[in-house]
């Protein structure tokens, strides 16, 4: 297996140009998301979904205009992959999570499983779609389209370990410059999803950007739930058996 790769999206240098959104759609042939004026700052695609795999959030605050490009987190512990019954979702040799559209049967289990609300079914064809981290480009030795297009290197692609080091250094620099509100999001392997393959440097609380503050892989408790369910079943069988046993007496 190749080295694990990922994205480090540094929102402190994002200029909101949306080149990532366009490059992603161009490369991956993602359809448009409809022509809807949303009156929410400069955001007219709304959020990640079947037809938007990179999404730039625009947050207007008093004297500040935050911009950040969101994407599938390619979680270490990916619930979408756990729940997929067909094997359409799989973990690649780059340790990324990809849906194979020719296998996806559109059951939609992955949709509520994602703690970030990333993956979505496309109404027109029923299948689930999301960022592939440009799996085909990676296999060809190219960086993903969004990272390639980003003019300010807000989106950086590379080996995950290297990106984490770079991000820590960048955070340190920003803190030294007095940008106390800077923080990393999704970089910690000890977090609820085992660390994200796509992590971020944010300038405010994650909720400000529409990100869950403490995401947890939704299948985390699944083994335990099976255990309890099994226990309950055994108990139930026992109880029923006991009833019959009792009646015989």
């Amino acid at each position: 297996m190749a080295e694990r790769v990922g994205f480090f999206t540094d929102s402190s240098v994002c200029i909101g140009c949306k080149a990532c959104e366009v490059a992603c759609k161009e490369w991956n042939g993602v359809p448009d998301d409809g022509f809807v004026f949303r009156a929410t700052s400069y955001d007219n695609t709304g959020g990640l979904g079947a037809d938007t795999w990179r999404h730039v959030a625009f947050i207007e605050q008093d004297g500040r205009w935050l911009m950040s490009s969101d994407v599938c987190k390619h979680c270490t512990n990916a619930a979408c992959l756990d729940v997929c019954p067909t094997g359409a979702l799989f973990r690649t040799e780059f340790d990324t999570v990809v849906v194979q559209p020719d296998i996806c049967n559109g059951c939609g289990y992955c949709v509520p499983a994602c703690p970030f609300g990333v993956i979505e079914r496309r109404e027109r064809d029923g299948r689930a779609w999301k960022c592939t981290m440009c799996y085909d480009r990676l296999r060809g030795g190219l960086e993903p389209a969004c990272a390639k297009a980003c003019p300010t290197d807000s989106i950086q692609f590379g080996p995950l370990d290297e990106l984490r080091e770079r991000a820590a250094a960048r955070l340190e620099r920003l803190h030294a410059d007095g940008v106390d509100e800077a923080r990393l999001y999704g970089d910690d392997p000890g977090d609820g999803v085992g660390g994200a393959g796509a992590f971020f440097l944010l300038l405010d609380e994650p909720e400000t950007y529409g990100l869950p503050p403490a995401p947890v892989v939704t299948t985390r408790d699944l083994p335990q739930m099976w255990w309890w369910a099994g226990g309950a079943a055994v108990a139930l069988v026992g109880a029923v058996a006991a009833c019959f046993a009792g009646s015989r007496r």
């Binding site: 200029i15 909101g16 366009v22 448009d32 009156a39 007219n44 695609t45 207007e60 205009w65």
Partner: protein
């Protein structure tokens, strides 16, 4: 810059990472403001007040770079006794004729130059105002004496520095507060930052986009910035300069090899019908004999030889008579008025969309509707090609398709990836593009179109005398492929020029005045040196010096910074180790450094010109601004401008504010079209209380022809909207996401509403001024449509270059959508007359 030039903006972001402080001064809080260190909102149209106050701050606190200013600018030069300033005449300079509303600039001259040596100077402003002469004039170095009298102590009351001091004395922080809406403490921070960051060790750059030019005082905006940069020693040095970010790809190229009516390639003036009877006449009258323009015969004769080849000989003035002649103003807006008047019958529109992109779109479309024929070449059916079937005037009943007799030819064009050629960027860098794929269907390159059109026309011509400019034209490029595409490289080689041996020239210094050399554009000479397409070079940055001379090719002579002699002190030593760029190597007896020196390589710093010297020989070893007749950076412009030798603040033609600096409200020489198609909001009309300005968005391209048609861009900004402050929204009754109608005397448009704190009401002259910001990308074609914002604008022009004042006018704002049909006309009529 982040908004319109996101790719170039990466370098600003990188500079920030290295510690640069970025100020963003703009009426609108844009994506640039979001990542700048400081954002200063300003009332649109007041930049000269701000720049003038910075100049005053530098002068009155003696913060200028004295050694640089004394040696390299005209600060010490004495101005004519006859000159009177706006200080003396309450907002006018001397020489104003109220009848013609034009200046006679002879009194602006240097002392001793009043009786001008050329007609040029004597005729001055008025003649140039006729045909945007100032445009070519400024670039070619207006005539002025190479050695005017000076006072090196800078104390003489008529030396330029003292004239400037008096002129800008009234530009105070209080005035900035009162007119721009910028608080004194914010001004102080800006002033401190730029002065602290200029001098021997440091340089400051100013960056503007074309919005800065789109004012009735547009040229003087840039002049004000130039004065400031010269005073601070920020010209010709690394990290300094004034970066003009152009409106779209290769607009720099289209001024170098111009699409402008008043210029020939390489900023040579287009000859005038009556003032330039023959070549000698032209060379005598157009520009100065000293400085590099002193070689203009070589440049022009080589151009004529490139165009007419063997037919151009010494005996026939090298076919000078074949060049078209100006008879007056042939600029865009005068042409449109000519269409309405029926004097202009045919029109080529190539890669432009004036029905959406130009000021007063209704006048544009009225012009188009009155033509005999119209040719539109574009990637898609833009509004200029379809105005006759679904333009706004059809909805109002002002036009009916059946009444429009214009025959419209739409010719599909190849895009930039479907043809090869060069782009010239804002840094004068030529970069060759390969063709990625063939254009689809009938789409063809512009080169193909003009080349084959020329061939067809030539086939129809006989041997009449009058046809000889066409029949004798060199028009024989190699043709390639199925559609006989002319070779773009052959054209580039012709532009580069060839010597008597037929080989490509390597420098404009090789151009000869006798017809032995050919060159299609003298400043591009060298782009094909050694028979190699130098613009196609792609040496990676990490394999060459930081100046990166082997990436593409920059005109002139592959110089990356113009006037870089100024990066060394008068003795030829770098001003500082940190800012070393080009210097004099005394041992080798030549200039050297990181870049190609912009100076005679072997002219020592102590060179003094002999009496009667011409061209570059007339400039001393300490004259870095080699295109100027005196080799100096001009703090004060003795000739070449139509509206004054120094910038003065005038309010925009339409403004809700009184000019408290002078008794003159607006630029007295601004060009007005007082016609029924072009009504102006009456001065001081309370029914137009708001400042209106237009803008662009990253997601769209200019008039929208290249973005509204593409789903991936259209979805990102699907509807026309205005940005308003919460206070204005409350005042007018606008709701976020709702509709607004914006009204001027020209028309009314409707747009969606974005209420945002980013737009800040400004306190100006003790009242609150609201600014309405509207991007102008929409029209009635494409995947997403909307009203044409530029329909709101009046046509009023800068007198130097005829650019329209499209960045500021006044408007009214109403809640809800606009009326349709006759009701819309009624609404405009009501507002027009109050």
């Amino acid at each position: 810059m982040a908004e319109c030039h996101p790719v170039g903006f990466q370098w600003v972001m990188e500079a920030r990472l290295r510690g640069a402080k970025v100020f963003h001064i703009d009426p609108r809080f844009s994506r640039t403001s979001a990542v700048a260190d400081r954002y200063l909102p300003i009332r649109a149209g007041t930049d000269i007040v701000l720049l003038g106050a910075l100049i005053n701050h530098v002068l009155s606190n003696e913060l200028y770079f004295r050694d640089y200013v004394l040696a390299y600018t005209n600060a010490a030069t004495l101005v004519s006794e006859r000159f009177q300033d706006t200080e003396d005449l309450d907002g006018l300079f001397s020489g104003f004729d109220p009848e013609t509303r034009r200046y006679d600039p002879s009194s602006w001259a240097y002392e001793g130059d009043e009786e001008a040596t050329t007609d040029e100077m004597r005729e001055g402003g008025a003649t140039h105002a006729e045909a945007a002469g100032s445009d070519s004039y400024g670039a070619r170095g207006a005539g002025a004496s190479a050695r005017p009298p000076t006072d090196p102590t800078l104390r003489h009351p008529r030396c330029v520095l003292q004239v400037l001091k008096r002129h800008f004395a009234r530009y105070t922080p209080e005035m900035v507060d009162e007119l721009c809406g910028i608080a004194p403490e914010d001004f102080a921070e800006l002033a401190e930052a730029i002065t602290a960051n200029s001098g021997r060790e440091r340089t400051t750059a100013w960056v503007y986009s074309v919005g800065w030019t789109q004012h009735s005082v547009g040229v003087q905006y840039i002049r004000a910035s130039a004065i400031l940069q010269l005073l601070l020693g920020n010209m010709g040095r690394p990290g300094g300069g004034i970066m003009a970010l152009r409106g779209h790809a290769s607009i720099q190229g289209s001024t170098d090899i111009p699409t402008l009516f008043n210029l020939l390639p390489g900023y040579l003036a287009m000859p005038h019908a009556h003032r330039h009877e023959d070549l000698a006449d032209y060379l005598e009258r157009e520009g100065a004999g000293t400085g590099y323009w002193g070689n203009r015969r070589s440049y022009l004769v080589s151009l004529l030889k490139a165009w007419w080849g063997d037919a151009a000989t010494e005996d026939n003035d090298f076919c000078f008579d074949y060049l078209p002649r100006l008879t007056g103003d042939h600029g865009h807006y005068t042409t449109v008025m000519g269409q309405i008047d029926g004097t202009v019958k045919g029109y080529f529109v190539i890669g432009e969309n004036p029905a959406v992109g130009s000021a007063n779109g209704r006048a544009q479309r009225m012009g188009l509707a009155n033509l005999d024929w119209l040719v539109v070449r574009d990637l898609t059916l833009v509004e200029t090609a379809t105005f006759w079937k679904d333009g706004p005037e059809l909805e109002t009943g002002e036009m009916r398709t059946g009444d429009i007799a214009t025959e419209v030819f739409f010719l599909p064009a190849a895009s930039h990836v479907e043809k090869e050629g060069t782009f010239t960027n804002t840094q004068r860098l030529l970069q060759w593009r390969e063709k990625a794929l063939d254009p689809p269907g009938d789409c063809r390159s512009d080169l193909w179109f003009y080349y084959h059109l020329g061939k067809r026309i030539r086939r129809r011509l006989g041997d009449d005398e009058i046809d000889r400019p066409m029949t004798e034209l060199t028009w024989d490029y190699p043709e390639e492929g199925q559609y006989r595409e002319p070779s773009a490289e052959a054209v580039l080689r012709e532009i580069n020029g060839t010597g008597p041996d037929g080989r490509a020239l390597s420098s404009y210094r090789e151009l000869a005045p006798d017809g032995s050399t050919r060159c299609g554009c003298w400043i591009y000479c060298g782009v094909y040196a050694d028979e190699v397409n130098q613009a196609a070079r792609r040496m990676p940055g990490n394999r060459q010096s930081w100046v990166a001379p082997e990436w593409g090719w920059a005109w002139p002579a592959n110089r990356r910074i113009l006037y870089n002699r100024a990066s060394a002190d008068p003795d030829g030593r770098p001003w500082s180790e940190r800012k070393a760029y080009v210097w004099w190597d005394a041992d080798r007896g030549e200039w050297t450094g990181h870049d190609v020196p912009d100076f005679d390589l072997r002219k020592p710093p102590d060179y003094q010109p002999p009496e009667g010297a011409r061209a570059e020989a007339a400039l001393s070893g300490t004259d870095p601004f080699i295109m100027q007749s005196d080799g100096k950076g001009w703090l004060y412009v003795p000739s070449g401008l139509s509206d004054g030798p120094m910038p003065a603040h005038y309010e925009p033609h339409e403004s809700p504010v009184l000019n408290t600096l002078y008794g003159r409200q607006a630029n007295p020489t601004r060009r007005i079209y007082d016609r029924p198609e072009n009504p102006y909001n009456p001065p001081g009309a309370a029914r137009f209380p708001y400042v209106f300005t237009t803008s662009r968005l990253t997601e769209h391209h200019t008039a929208g022809g290249m973005s509204r048609t593409l789903a991936y861009l259209a979805e990102l900004q699907p509807e026309l909207f205005c940005e308003v402050s919460p206070q204005l929204a409350a005042e007018v009754g606008l709701v976020n996401g709702g509709w607004a109608t914006i009204v001027t005397s020209r028309t009314a448009i409707e747009c969606r509403v974005l209420v945002t704190d980013r737009v800040r009401p400004l306190r100006v002259q003790r009242q609150i001024i609201h600014q309405v910001v509207v991007p102008y990308h929409w029209g009635h074609e494409g995947l997403v449509t909307g009203d044409v914002v530029n329909d709101l604008l009046p046509v009023v022009l800068d007198p130097n270059v005829y650019i329209q004042e499209s960045k500021v006018c006044t408007c009214a704002v109403l809640p809800g959508r606009r009326p349709r049909g006759q009701a819309l006309l009624d609404l405009i009529e009501e507002y027009r007359h109050g």
